[in-house]
Amino acid sequence: MMSNFVFLPIFIPLFVGAILVFLNKKHQLTMKISYLTVFLSLGVSIYLSYYVFKNNPLILETGAWKAPYGIILVADKLSVIMILSVNVIALAAVIFAASSVNSKMVQHYFYPLFFLLIAGVSGAFLTGDLFNLFVFFEVLLMASYGLIIIGGSKVQFRESVKYILLNLFSSILFVTTVAFLYSVTGTVNMAQLGERVAEVEQQGILTGIAILLFVVFATKGALFPLYFWLPKSYIVPSPVVSALFGALLTKVGVYSMLRVYTLIFSHKLELTHTFFIWVATITMLIGVIGALSTSNVKLIIAYNIMPAIGFMLLGIGTFSAESLAGTIYYLVHDMAIKAALFFLAGLLVWHAGTSNLNKMGGFIKTSPLLGWMFFIAALVLAGIPPFSGFIGKYLLLRGAFDEEHYIAAGIGLLSSLLILFSVLRIFIGAFWGEVKEEPKEKVRSSGLAASGLLIAISILLGVGAEWFYPYIQSAADSLIDPQIYIDFVLKE
């Protein structure tokens, strides 16, 4: 009975999304239903997390077909942490959308697309089947394609074409690679893949396949040198969409890497994981250089996605219980703070009437709350204690130093400084100084509420780390020993 719960985080948004297609002309009703849905879904995720942490992971064998023959959904500790985070972000997004999504956007199916995106992301986090992961990727991608063009501006079309083409290529590569893997191992079930790859010690072509898969996930997850499509395409849609993209889409790539490279391809660490560390280090640096290169407020935030992903990959590459805990902590923290920053950037751009930082100034007088939120968000992002970014960064750096990856850790520290600088520029440029141009509109309060919620969570994750860290460390511990997952799924 309880295992059916696992499907709920996917089913609820799917079902509601489908219904909302028919209500696209009824804005108020849609909003009310959306609020109800996210609260319901959040409640389910909380209960699910509570259950899994208290007892044991849950498996749903769809169609009652046993693993590895049928598709299974696995709610283990990592997955429920991710599901919980997704639903919190969804809640914040719905709050933000209250004042930023107008009726035209609703007519263009914003809410159905939104819920299907959530369903796809949740599915990706819960599935235990590699091909099914591909299918969920396609669901969330297709939803994102729909979301990115709502608004229909020139720029949106232009950037979406590139976005879609690049993702299409990586999807095709994904499905091909799954086939290659199937050829060697005879299965597409993740647990069984883990078991079989371990049996042959990942010899031969398997490592090559692992790298192909890495390229697929790295393109999704915005690692160097595969992220060029990201910055411009993430800023063209409406801020709530940008926030969803920044907070959720790239994280699916990181989650996939986390899952695949701990469960399945963890047998040639000196080769694969060292490679990951190099990619992570370069991404941390070049990404933040991008953030410093522009005066477009939204673009600064978008470029900041990359260094964060670099940090997370560093934890995967280091492959210790501590560093993996760091990756997970950082994942959760980054989902919250990136969404918050995209919200804030969006609010700022509406307030100022421009996204050019050089044309802004003195807004601390006209919108002090927005300014202070930006300031705190900058501190959180840069990893200043006692906020959430620090805990994640601390664990990652400590893990890296412990395994003697000194250069990577050093670059991580440098990158943190530059991240602080890049966002501080926004605060000083837009909020301090003289008022250059009068603001165009008042800051929307539901937007502030959504951002405030996420920032409060970041503060909580930092100051109250003791409440969260043990669970996250526990999730990391189960990742470092893939046999736990394998046994649980296959012996059931």
Binding site: G63, W65, Y69, G70, I71, K104, Y109, L113, F131, N132, V135, F136, E138, V139, G146, I149, G151, G152, L165, L166, L173, F180, L181, S183, G186, T187, Q192, Q203, G204, I205, T207, G208, I209, I211, V215, T219, L226, P231, K232, L271, F275, G290, L292, I384, P385, Y394, L395, L397, R398, L414, S416, L417, I428, F431, G433, E434, E466, Y469, P470, Q473
Partner: protein, 780 residues
């Protein structure tokens, strides 16, 4: 209990932030004043406990699972600093009540100030290194907010940003050092680290740890070459300059070095770096001070130089040196704090801080002038028993002569130290005289001033008076604070309790001669200042630390822009090319090193010619698509590929697949036709041969790579496929004959559900794109 004392300013900040506006009638400062006063009294009351050789400690949980605990302890060193933080804090708050008018954003000011006060207390009382780091960064943040208090001024925001970047740079280095220390010593507690210091000293990472830690200390205490943020920090309101940027925050670096001395001191590396940087800073700072024209500028460089002096003494490491350093930390706080306040008074009462426009103010503000003279002479080290500064300076000279290092580089260096000490002190003397004579004596320029100068109200004078009283009293009776305060502090740094009696007169010894030299040459230089001041302009601006800072920051921004613009061209082709090249190169390299490629011809299906023929036609058609420039031709050719594939499906025993492919291909071709009709004609590619060649290479290598991986995958089948289950159970359990259908609908039904969702989403998107055509932006 200790954690409550630290919590108190934070709580107060919260309350003041929320409620101060409601209490309109009195200056917010009065509401704030009780906090530091109460804390000061509490700390004083703990003095007897320390005198007995005990320490006070308390612990509270923060993140026990990570061993990041709020453990605090109060020993001699932290007591000294706590008294300074709370004592000078009280005086500064009192001063600020009269300095800052009600028109300023007082609530913000006091909130930031209280945040700083709590954080600084946290720094000096923390035993847990990561909690120390937390409070350390918080002092940087509150300093940032205070420097940028008048945020509408460009210079203020510039100074704030600079201080933030430089100190956070140091903070992050320090974090690296602390993590390494924590790993090496296997503890997060400073006291435990001290106990385990042999682990640290013997570690390979000793020098990197030391350097990273010192980077933190040097940036915070404005040592060379990180000193230039301090003069820019003078944009803050003067109470801030008196509090943070002379008496407390900038001393945090000194605190750090002192606190960790028990681990690092005694080694040559420590000696050379710390004393070296300290002495350079002493000389450079004092030299540049006389160049300044802003009163606060002179004081800023003076602070830099004085901090260098203390840092040097911490580097010396001997008992006398440490005692002298501790003593000077105290003394410097008293005279510098008061000098800053006087500078603020002058600014307040005359409207300017430009020393060139001031002069002869003694007649108008005799009290301020007297206070300034005493403070300045103490700073200069004038040998009279009422100046506490002289006492610590003598001890500085004394300790510079009694260094323990004799061998090697350290030994050679040690021989030069007394000379550097004298040079630095000479210039200290010069700028001290420059400061007070230039402001209070000499020609009066009062008609050029904005306001008519007059003495400050007694409220503003109270705090400097208190401080100067300390200067004089400690000068006359230094041993009053020796045993209760200075000795325990020294003990915390060196491990031994010193038994040195502080006295003004020791006999005509070398240090005294050094002092006389300083006074002599100093007086000479001070009175001929106008003659050689132009020399400063000869120094190329290129070498100033501010110039370096700007070069680095602007260079960073400019190079970021050019690097990013280099690869973010917006060109889809570039993006694809890079991704593909990365894919091919990394996979090939990995395959090579893991010997991934295998080819086995054992288990292959026989080659049948119909299939090969169809395949051949498809290949030709695919390649032909590239050159087709007639729209219809292109569609035909792509159709050939699609239908050919369908045929292959038939040959390869996949009937359902063939049917589906047929249908889908037909619809796709129709869609293509539709699209082609609305889009422009196909053009011949106008790319250069070299571009086409690159495209060709990338394309072929990608295809080849995948082929190779495919062949290798096929050749290394290692397991029985799970498909057997489907074949066996399709009818038995699934109730169907068509295995593929049963898989789709039953075994792997979830896939099918969501594949339909994808189709639905596509339809939704298409529908929206076509039906809701809108002109322009909807993002409002």
């Amino acid at each position: 209990m200790l954690h409550f004392y630290i919590l108190l300013p934070f709580l107060a900040a919260l309350l003041i932030g929320m409620f101060a506006k409601k209490v309109n009638r009195i200056h917010t400062g009065w509401l704030v004043l009780p906090i530091p006063v109460v804390l000061f009294i509490i700390f004083c009351l703990k003095l007897p406990v320390l005198a007995e050789g005990k320490i006070v400690q308390s612990t509270a949980d923060w993140i026990p699972s990570l061993d990041i605990q709020l453990s605090f302890y109060l020993d001699g060193l932290s007591m000294l600093f706590s008294l300074l933080i709370t004592g000078i804090g009280s005086l500064v708050v009192l001063y600020s009540i009269f300095y800052l008018s009600r028109k300023e954003q007082l609530t913000h000011f006091y909130v930031y100030l209280l945040l700083f006060m709590g954080s600084m207390l946290g720094v000096v009382l923390s035993d847990n290194v990561f909690v120390l780091y937390t409070f350390w960064e918080f002092t940087s943040i509150s300093s940032f907010l205070l420097i940028g208090f008048w945020f509408y001024r460009d210079r203020s925001t510039y100074g704030a940003q600079k201080s933030m970047l430089v100190t956070v740079f140091g903070g992050l280095s320090m974090l690296g050092a602390l993590i390494l220390l924590s790993i090496t010593a296997e503890t997060n507690s400073i006291r435990m680290m001290i106990a385990n210091r042999s682990d640290i000293l013997e570690s390979d990472l000793f020098i990197p740890i030391l350097i990273l830690l010192l980077l933190g200390a040097f940036t915070k205490s404005a040592q060379f070459p990180f000193h230039s943020w301090l003069p820019d920090a003078m944009e803050a309101p003067t109470p801030v300059s008196a509090y943070l940027h002379s008496a407390t925050m900038v001393k945090a670096g000194l605190y750090l070095v002192a606190r960790f001395s028990l681990i690092f001191s005694g080694t040559d590396t420590f000696f050379i770096i710390v004393s070296g940087i300290g002495l350079i800073t002493l000389c450079l700072g004092s030299f540049l001070a006389s160049r300044q024209t802003d009163l606060k500028g002179i004081l800023a460089y003076s602070t830099i130089s004085q901090l260098g002096m203390i840092m040097a003494m911490l580097g010396f490491g001997t008992g006398t040196a440490i005692l002298a350093a501790i003593f000077h930390i105290f003394n410097h706080a008293t005279f510098k704090g008061s000098l800053f306040m006087i500078a603020g008074i002058v600014d307040h009462e005359t409207g300017t801080r430009d020393i060139r426009r001031l002069g002869g103010l003694y007649t108008f503000m005799p009290i301020s002038a007297t206070l300034a003279f005493i403070g300045a002479f103490s700073m200069a080290g004038v040998p009279l028993p009422i100046f506490n500064g002289f006492l610590s300076k003598e001890m500085f000279f004394d300790s510079s002569l009694k260094l323990e290092q004799t061998a090697g580089l350290a030994g050679t260096f040690a021989e030069w130290i007394p000379i550097l000490a004298v040079v630095g002190s000479i210039f200290t003397f010069v700028y001290s005289m420059y400061l007070v004579f230039g402001t209070f004596l000499g020609k009066q320029n009062t008609d050029q001033l904005e306001k008519k100068p007059h003495e400050a109200p007694i409220g503003m004078l109270l705090s400097p008076i208190v401080l100067i009283v300390f200067v004089v009293v400690v000068g006359l009776l230094p041993n009053l604070i020796n045993e209760p305060l200075l000795a325990p502090a020294t003990a915390a740094v060196t491990g031994d309790l010193p038994h040195i009696h502080l006295a003004f007169w020791h006999s005509l010894n070398t240090p005294f001669y050094m002092s006389l030299t300083v006074v002599g040459i100093g007086t000479l230089l001070a009175f001929t200042l106008k003659k050689w001041q132009p020399l400063y302009n000869r120094i190329p601006g290129k070498f100033s630390s501010d110039h370096w800072y700007q070069t680095i920051v602007n260079g960073l921004l400019r190079s970021s822009k050019s690097i990013t613009e280099f690869y973010m061209t917006g060109s889809l082709r570039l993006y694809f090319s890079i991704i593909l090249v990365f894919l091919v190169v990394s996979t090939s390299i990995f395959m090579y090193f893991t010997e991934g490629f295998t080819i086995s011809v054992d288990d292959l299906a026989p080659i049948t010619w119909p299939e090969v023929l169809v395949g051949f036609v498809m290949a030709v058609a695919a390649i032909a698509t590239i050159w087709m420039n007639q729209r219809i031709a292109a569609i035909i050719v792509i159709g050939v590929v699609g239908y050919g594939l369908s045929l292959l499906f038939v040959f390869f025993r996949a009937p359902d697949l063939a049917l589906t492919q047929l249908i889908v291909e037909t619809i796709t071709v129709a869609l293509f036709l539709l699209c082609f009709a609305h889009l422009p004609k196909l053009k011949t590619s106008d790319k250069a041969i070299s571009e086409k060649l690159i495209d060709f290479i990338i394309a072929v290598s990608t295809g080849a790579l995948l082929t190779i991986v495919a062949i290798a995958s096929h050749s290394s089948k290692s397991f029985e496929s799970i498909a057997k289950y489907f074949v066996d159970n399709s009818y038995k359990l699934g109730g169907g004959d068509n295995i593929v259908n049963v898989i789709l609908v039953d075994f792997r039904g979830l896939d099918t559900l969501f594949e339909i969702a994808v189709l639905g989403l596509a339809a939704l998107g298409i529908f929206a794109m076509i039906k809701y055509r809108d002109k322009g932006d909807m993002n409002q």
